[in-house]
Symmetry: D3
Subunit: 245 residues, 6 copies
Amino acid sequence: MRSDGRQSDQLRQVKITRRYIKHAEGSVLIEVGDTKVICTASVENKVPPFLRNTNKGWVTAEYGMLPRSTHTRTQREISKGVPNGRTQEIQRLIGRCLRSVVDLTKLGERTIWIDCDVIQADGGTRTASITGGCIALFDALTYMRKNNDIDTMPLKDFIAATSVGIVNNKLLLDLNYNEDSKAEVDMNIVMTGSGKFVEIQGTAEEEPFTPEQMQSLLALAKRGIDDLIKIQRTYLGETLLDKYL
Amino acid sequence: MRSDGRQSDQLRQVKITRRYIKHAEGSVLIEVGDTKVICTASVENKVPPFLRNTNKGWVTAEYGMLPRSTHTRTQREISKGVPNGRTQEIQRLIGRCLRSVVDLTKLGERTIWIDCDVIQADGGTRTASITGGCIALFDALTYMRKNNDIDTMPLKDFIAATSVGIVNNKLLLDLNYNEDSKAEVDMNIVMTGSGKFVEIQGTAEEEPFTPEQMQSLLALAKRGIDDLIKIQRTYLGETLLDKYL
Amino acid sequence: MRSDGRQSDQLRQVKITRRYIKHAEGSVLIEVGDTKVICTASVENKVPPFLRNTNKGWVTAEYGMLPRSTHTRTQREISKGVPNGRTQEIQRLIGRCLRSVVDLTKLGERTIWIDCDVIQADGGTRTASITGGCIALFDALTYMRKNNDIDTMPLKDFIAATSVGIVNNKLLLDLNYNEDSKAEVDMNIVMTGSGKFVEIQGTAEEEPFTPEQMQSLLALAKRGIDDLIKIQRTYLGETLLDKYL
Amino acid sequence: MRSDGRQSDQLRQVKITRRYIKHAEGSVLIEVGDTKVICTASVENKVPPFLRNTNKGWVTAEYGMLPRSTHTRTQREISKGVPNGRTQEIQRLIGRCLRSVVDLTKLGERTIWIDCDVIQADGGTRTASITGGCIALFDALTYMRKNNDIDTMPLKDFIAATSVGIVNNKLLLDLNYNEDSKAEVDMNIVMTGSGKFVEIQGTAEEEPFTPEQMQSLLALAKRGIDDLIKIQRTYLGETLLDKYL
Amino acid sequence: MRSDGRQSDQLRQVKITRRYIKHAEGSVLIEVGDTKVICTASVENKVPPFLRNTNKGWVTAEYGMLPRSTHTRTQREISKGVPNGRTQEIQRLIGRCLRSVVDLTKLGERTIWIDCDVIQADGGTRTASITGGCIALFDALTYMRKNNDIDTMPLKDFIAATSVGIVNNKLLLDLNYNEDSKAEVDMNIVMTGSGKFVEIQGTAEEEPFTPEQMQSLLALAKRGIDDLIKIQRTYLGETLLDKYL
Amino acid sequence: MRSDGRQSDQLRQVKITRRYIKHAEGSVLIEVGDTKVICTASVENKVPPFLRNTNKGWVTAEYGMLPRSTHTRTQREISKGVPNGRTQEIQRLIGRCLRSVVDLTKLGERTIWIDCDVIQADGGTRTASITGGCIALFDALTYMRKNNDIDTMPLKDFIAATSVGIVNNKLLLDLNYNEDSKAEVDMNIVMTGSGKFVEIQGTAEEEPFTPEQMQSLLALAKRGIDDLIKIQRTYLGETLLDKYL
């Protein structure tokens, strides 16, 4: 049994609050156990230079942590003056993943900014950002659709993410901070509603891992993501989904 | 009557949620109408260089806004690469105000960081930060007192802040964003529980204002702050206060 | 009596040297006691993006201190790499104040840059910048008027600034550095030639102050600014003023 | 057949020139087809703050590209003023991988800096950096061993990396720039001499990929890395290896 | 005849005002024609890291221009965020030159900061900075000597600088801005009171120049610098000099 | 005899490898003794703002050093966050020199970027960059000429550079790092194929030098540059040169 009483293949409790920030076209507060992230989706009527005059849109993400979202206070990036490598790596990942389920040609020359700001961190902030960002993105696209800014729904599939890892030689699903900080292997997996891989990032923190362990981790992640996609569907409601996806 | 139905001398509804972020020594979510700010107080066991070996502590503040706390998305400061002038002005103000009600000699060589992060903005974010920051600070000091890190409570008084202004030639208390954006005069007032001034910042945005208008604005602010201090007392509970303040 | 022999309600000696820098459209060296600031006004034939195609102009200010204008050498901002919070706060203040007496619609799409560079500091550098900047601005506008760049004079009124404060429990006008560094309360007041307030910024550095003290400080400041406006008028010469203001 | 005549499971030609830069404790020029990277290993007699007084050492990496290593000239990072997200992601990867095969407790309080500078880029610069960095690291450790700075060899295993991907629906090993730029799936794999995974980073650039494709890609990568490890052994020479590894 | 009526081998009028800034240990306003530079010398009781525990001191310089010292307004370096290449080149030159006439072992572990801030520019700001900086440095060293901070005078010789150039095929001494901006060749020469070279920087802006022209330029510069050294001696007064140099 | 066995007036061995980087329009590896610099010339079809619509082109240079090109590892500029003063000074010099032998009106509105990246440093990196950059520039211009991008060859002459100095009171040509680091006087000279000066930068590191020493250094440099120009001609081949220069 894990420190928080979960089974090794059990997700933490997931709670999604839609329309959390009144100004944003899409916004959710996603809670995965004690990890809490505000995800907003903002529509901007222009695209980065490399897409101008292509009739295609763009989806990009930014990620941040409130200074005291962490156990001890973390200095703000702007106070250091330079963007943090970890931050950039995470926001590039989130953007890449969400773009993979959007048909950019249906967006028109618009950018959707996904902002994921961690207000409380307990492991898995980047995967929670992807899972929550998908809902914020869905809501912003629905907003645009209702507004007749776009003709058809550009979202091609659901997308969700979780972590798996090896801790004290045991394979675990959805690591919290405590587990993550002592993991021998840590892997983030991003998959679609149709069970395909979008991204896999696995790292041996202490000891390299075997091909057999790799297989088990992939299987464990698959189970978790299937559950997350079900949770997303529940929060969005089937009727709405039938209509738009 | 104002757009949100308030009287000219009426505060917006204030809601304070204590212990909002589990890691912080003190933390609140303060809501003043649609303005929502997370205030955390973090204790660090060292002081800035100019206070080393003085046996005195320090209280300092940092302020931020989530990109989509605003009507249209605001670029992150770190993306621009330089700290924003407005941000710095606000965090210097918050720090100065909270320091004015703390006996720094009772803190020992410790710094209390007050982080005020706006998750939804509708005017008055800096004054909400001061009013909420006071509670987060109180909770962190109480935590330190219970921990026997400090012998006596360093907080000397309550502190709260609000805005007053002239909009369409009418004097208003506690301006929301809509009112603030068309105000002829905008003034932020910070006062203590004992009715003294800590800070006053008044600006004629369009037209200079007369000494008579100045007097009326001061009186209006006084009434609002008296109410805010009552609200702070209610949230903290009289018993606790008798014990520590 | 004060350390420099002044009465509590007495300004320091003010000296204004016009046309101090040959390249600038307007430029003055203002000396307020030992505080010396070079103020230049530079006309640029474009406006910031938010004013393009509005037929309105802009007035903005920048402020700096030579490294050894201060008692001990101050590091250059560019050596630190980040703009200083105090600097930004001051230059925002100067810009706001000078804009309040200019009819921006009469400027056309032009920006007037007011640069205030302190070459020797002895307290009150921001208020000296406003008082001196007003003359540099006047001279630049007169230059534009003579040049037929503008049809009518955009300056609506004079503007001047001074500080008041409480030092050792006494109320003083126009604090020098020595007084400022030990002041219990420090307040900067900016007023127009017609006796209206443009800006008020009061801070309790050590102890909050009472409403009665607030009233006395406001009255003291009023007297000082009336004198400063008279000095400005003297330096500009009545004839010229009748013609343009 | 591929544009450069290779079989789908064939590596590009690999050439390693040891002792390429005379000042460095270890240095190689690694050429993988037309991709050319200078890898140096520099020994510094101190560790980052978090390792002080732990008797452990550190291995860290930095990565750069000469401006014209690329098809069109790339602006220098320092000209832009901010570190590039891709650069930081790559150098974090290289450092993490090389650390995984070093026993840091055997290094003493020393840092080994691995600098990987791409002088000509044709795809696979990060994987070439890892493969070449391993040799530079080996040479620096041997240098330290001969110098009696360390008592035993801290290197635990070889490490090498390559890419696999799906291009036009075909699975390919070791993608060059042309293949990489049109890949549907791109995966970097890092493995040890004993056939274990250190890192896996797979990304669906256009279309998510199936679990079956994942399996085939892993197998293809394994074959490539086995060959790379053989090449490393050849360049180092068996005798030397027996002695030190 | 030149535009300002000078002979080709004639310096502009030089005026030096000592003790110009009251806080600095040494300070001058140097005026060379319409070029005006404030030079201050500040004594700091520490040295850069590479000199710690060597018993040697350091002399370093910083250079800046007020935004409207130039014909059209120049943006502040801090507004751009990066130090300017020209600024750095100039301040490295000034520091190097002044160090060459100071016996650093006689300074003790102290740094003298020479700040040269141009308030009005009309060509030759870097050479005026060196000529004026020498006097500010002398005054600071005299201050230290009187204070018994140092036992003997560390200044070994005078130092002064001027420019020579080829304009419209004519060789000119001490170019003003107008001449400098159309010069074919521009050369800055720094020499000591004993007629030796400290620095020479010559640049063919348009056309390379012959060895014969080089010889004539060196001779012309020599004459100008001899005059500048005489002017320095006059301002300092022979008696004082006999005593200290 | 010098530490590397050379006569005092003898250049180090020079080796030039053309077409060193496949992507660049012009590229060389220049080796001057143990100093090795990769010089690339990249053609860009636009010019800096100040040249737009002038029908003129531009030549500019950037300079960098790999971290371990030096005896001990040098931190990357981007890691420090600010461009290095020495780097900027050198790249401004290289750009200025190469521009002096190009007829910019024959380039059309194009910029040629000369990137000089030091992969191994042993003194004289800036002069090697100029000598090698000239060849890379020649090759890029030849490429443009063959491509019919330009009608005639814009190169007006050859250009090469070397250093001279005084070490232990002896005059030496082409200082290596060891000599340079203990030189009393260090001078960089840039001349054309027709024996004219483009740039001269001489610095007395320790002791000012006499006019007679200046003359001897100029003569020594002249001899060295004549040799370098011959070497450049040899590498380019006379036939090609007759055709284009």
